[in-house]
């Protein structure tokens, strides 16, 4: 039975590759890259044999702890990444939970992440090539560590699922979990300035981690090599206890999951009345604006695309603090460029639900306008604040008209251009309900190119206000700044109206074809 499920897992993997050459090619590229990294890691482990054992131990404990954490966090982020053998799908078969647990553990271990972790973990043995006692213990400790990784990952997933967390909770979590990750860049660069001092702290951190369930298993061979057999024994006990508790936890929630499917309806509470539908005028345009407002509020894919804005802000503030202000000065135009382009994915986000626009015969202009209105209500204040506040704080208020002109120009022109772009090509986006950061298979090169082309067109069309703003910067004459503001708003508005008209006509003409490709994108 165990062997059967493992075989099924590989069969699913290979059949997935057979679906398209693009997937196969990217899988091969990914595999080559992974092998490269793997080789580097193994070589590194071997190199550690020739430094003081204290260092090999520190690396093993910290690396191992990070691996366990990774196994815990990554499945949370990439929800649905590999649910080919989920409990839900196996529920109907008469498999006792005990057997299923062993089988799923083996499947997790023999998946690609499992194999890679196992190889790297076992390669830590190489670090102890000069310490006989540790050399013998290392492979066993490594296997124990990897088992903890897999069991922890599976147990937390099962516990989470058996808690029947509502849909809303999962959607919010899938965004929230990403915030620290995106902020990692700035954090590391902040920390980077004091990396020397951290270097001295690493053994201390490792020492603490080695007494926690995260690092205990990885510490065993090092403790033996450093002549701390009692500590090694204690940590073996901690690691075994960890594995035992995890397996127990997993088994219990598995038993619950096998008999009672996690309810999916606990997520939504009754909401009040028509919500945004009461705020907008009762026209097709108003209805579409109201609907996109609801989606901005409720669909994590929309909000998720905004997560880049706070990140940009923090990055800009950080750069300003370290001496280069230019990014903070230009924050407003950056916001404008990011926001305007989000419209490009709108129809892709609709998916086949776009059929209701098509079958109602709503005009393309109403469709385009409604979407632009919602985004504008959000984007115009945001861009205004992001332009004005930094300039006031940095005491560059003379630049406000020029940069506001550029920002509005980019934003309005972007509305127009992406109104056409989203009617012209579809973006590969995750389906409704999937993790907003999951990149769908076949994220095709052409649509990426289409998006960059849209961006390039926006900048070319916004050249007049850009040039005026640069002149105003160069000469320091505020007249040019006001000229940039007027040109930006007027020209941007013209491009926006043109774009909405053209995009609307395009949607009316190509509607059925768009729906056909949307159906195909969903594998229907």
């Amino acid at each position: 039975m165990v062997a059967h499920l493992v075989r099924l897992r590989f069969r699913l993997l290979f059949n997935g590759f057979r679906r398209s050459t693009a997937v196969l090619v990217s899988a091969i590229l990914g595999a080559v890259w992974a092998l490269f990294v793997l080789f580097g890691l193994v070589a590194g482990m071997f190199a550690l044999a020739f430094v003081p054992p204290q260092w090999a131990w520190t690396v093993a404990v910290l690396g191992g702890s990070v691996a366990v954490l990774g196994w815990l966090i990554v499945p949370l982020m990439l929800r649905g990444m590999d649910d080919s053998l989920s409990v839900a799908k196996l529920r109907m078969f008469p498999i006792p939970p005990q057997r299923l647990l062993v089988a799923l553990l083996a499947v997790g271990l023999l998946g690609i992440p499992g194999i890679v972790t196992l190889l790297v973990a076992v390669s830590t043995t190489l670090s102890w090539i000069r310490e006989p006692l540790a050399l013998i213990a290392a492979p066993f400790a490594a296997v124990l560590g990897v088992l903890i990784c897999v069991a922890a990952s599976r147990a937390f997933e099962a516990v989470g699922a058996s808690l029947s967390a509502g849909r809303r909770y999962r959607e919010v979590m899938s965004v929230v979990v990403f915030i620290p990750l995106i902020l990692l860049g700035p954090i590391i660069s902040v920390a980077g300035s004091s990396i020397e001092t951290i270097g001295d702290d690493l053994p201390r951190i490792a020492h603490v981690a080695s007494w926690t369930p995260l690092g205990a298993a990885w510490s065993i061979p090092g403790d033996l090599a450093l002549g701390r057999p009692l500590e090694a024994l204690a940590k073996t006990a901690i690691a075994l206890a960890t594995l035992g508790v995890l397996l127990l936890l997993w088994r219990r929630s598995l038993a619950v999951l096998l008999v009672s499917p996690p309810s999916s309806s606990s997520g939504s509470k009754a909401s009040k009345g028509l919500g945004p539908f009461a705020w907008y005028p009762g026209t097709p345009t108003g209805a579409i604006a109201a609907r996109t407002t609801v989606y901005w509020l409720r669909d994590p894919r929309y909000g998720g695309s905004l997560i880049v804005l706070p990140v940009l802000t923090i990055l800009a503030i950080f750069m300003a603090a370290t001496g280069s202000e230019w990014f903070l000065v230009l924050l407003g135009p950056f916001f404008a460029a990011m926001l305007a382009i989000t419209l490009c994915a709108e129809i892709s986000y609709d998916g086949t639900a776009f059929a209701s626009h098509l079958s109602s015969g709503v005009t393309g202009v109403a469709d385009r306008t409604g979407r632009v209105i919602t985004l504008a209500i959000m984007a115009v204040p945001l861009v205004t604040l992001a332009t004005v506040i930094p300039l006031l704080i940095l005491d560059h208020s003379a630049h406000i008209p020029a940069l506001l002109g550029v920002a509005y120009g980019l934003l309005l022109t972007g509305f127009g251009v992406s109104s056409i772009a989203s009617a012209r090509f579809l973006m590969p986006v995750p389906a409704a309900g999937e993790s907003p950061f999951k990149s769908p298979p076949g994220a095709s090169f052409t649509s990426q190119l289409g998006m960059f082309a849209a961006w390039a067109i926006v900048f070319v069309l916004a050249l007049p206000e850009l040039v005026l703003a640069i002149v105003s910067f160069a000469t320091g004459q505020i007249v040019f700044g006001f000229a940039a503001l007027i040109v930006g708003v007027v020209l941007g508005a013209v491009f926006m109206v043109l774009g909405i008209r053209r995009g609307g006509a395009l949607i009316e003409r190509r509607g059925p074809e768009l729906l056909t490709s949307l159906r195909r994108a969903r594998g229907a």
């Binding site: 939504s268 909401s271 028509l274 579409i288 409720r298 059929a355 209701s356 109602s360 059925p512």
Partner: protein, 270 residues
Amino acid sequence: MTEDPSTPVVLTPDTPAPPIVAALRIAGLKKAFGDKVAVDDLDLTVPTGSFYGLVGPNGAGKTTTLSMATGLLRPDAGTIEVLGTDVWRDTVKAKSLVGVLSDGVALFDRLTGEQLVTYHGLLYGMDRETVAQRTADLLELLDLNDAGRKLVVDYSAGMTKKIALASALVHAPRLLVLDEPFESVDPVSAANIRDILAGYVRGGGTVIVSSHSMDLVQRMCDHVAVIGSGRLLAAGTTDEVRAGSTLEDRFVELVGGRQHSEGPSWLRTS
């Protein structure tokens, strides 16, 4: 093609006199996906005021045909008229006459049921008061009053069908095209929906349903067409098509592919 559109079966005395224009007239319809022909030179006329059943095996081209008839899929060749309006020439007018429930198409399911029906109403350009009135009526009619405030994504499959039906009805279309409307709907709701549809037909509307349930079609529809491999195999009043036998037997006879075996021996437990 034994069909005679000028003599629809009169259901009730107050049905308006048989009009000359058909509710739906399809002529020479063709559609191929790559080298797979989905609809092959199909002709079909649905008389106004009829309750028309469209049956066929899986992959026969029912959904493809209905998609083309409602302006969701562009045909390769052929003409489609809804109440005399060419669907692919005067698209907007044709669409305003038709209410659609598509199979295999998502809804905007992050809206509540009430919001979804309102959205559809407003998309058709109706004013807010009428939409609010009709939404309330439809939710009441389909027993969705409590669910109206919940998100559609959290609905059961049957409730989703019902809210989709409400969305298709809200603009009071003259022709209702329903692709698999009874799939995963419980018997009580199905009976309620049938009553609503029958009342709609009595009021002068036309309904086209596609279904796999022969029993249901035989009881519910006054006209029926059998489609197989993208072609029309039989069409006419239900009594004509079934020709004394049951619709199911007649269907199997027309479509073929029935196997007469008792299954493998190991499946017999006694």
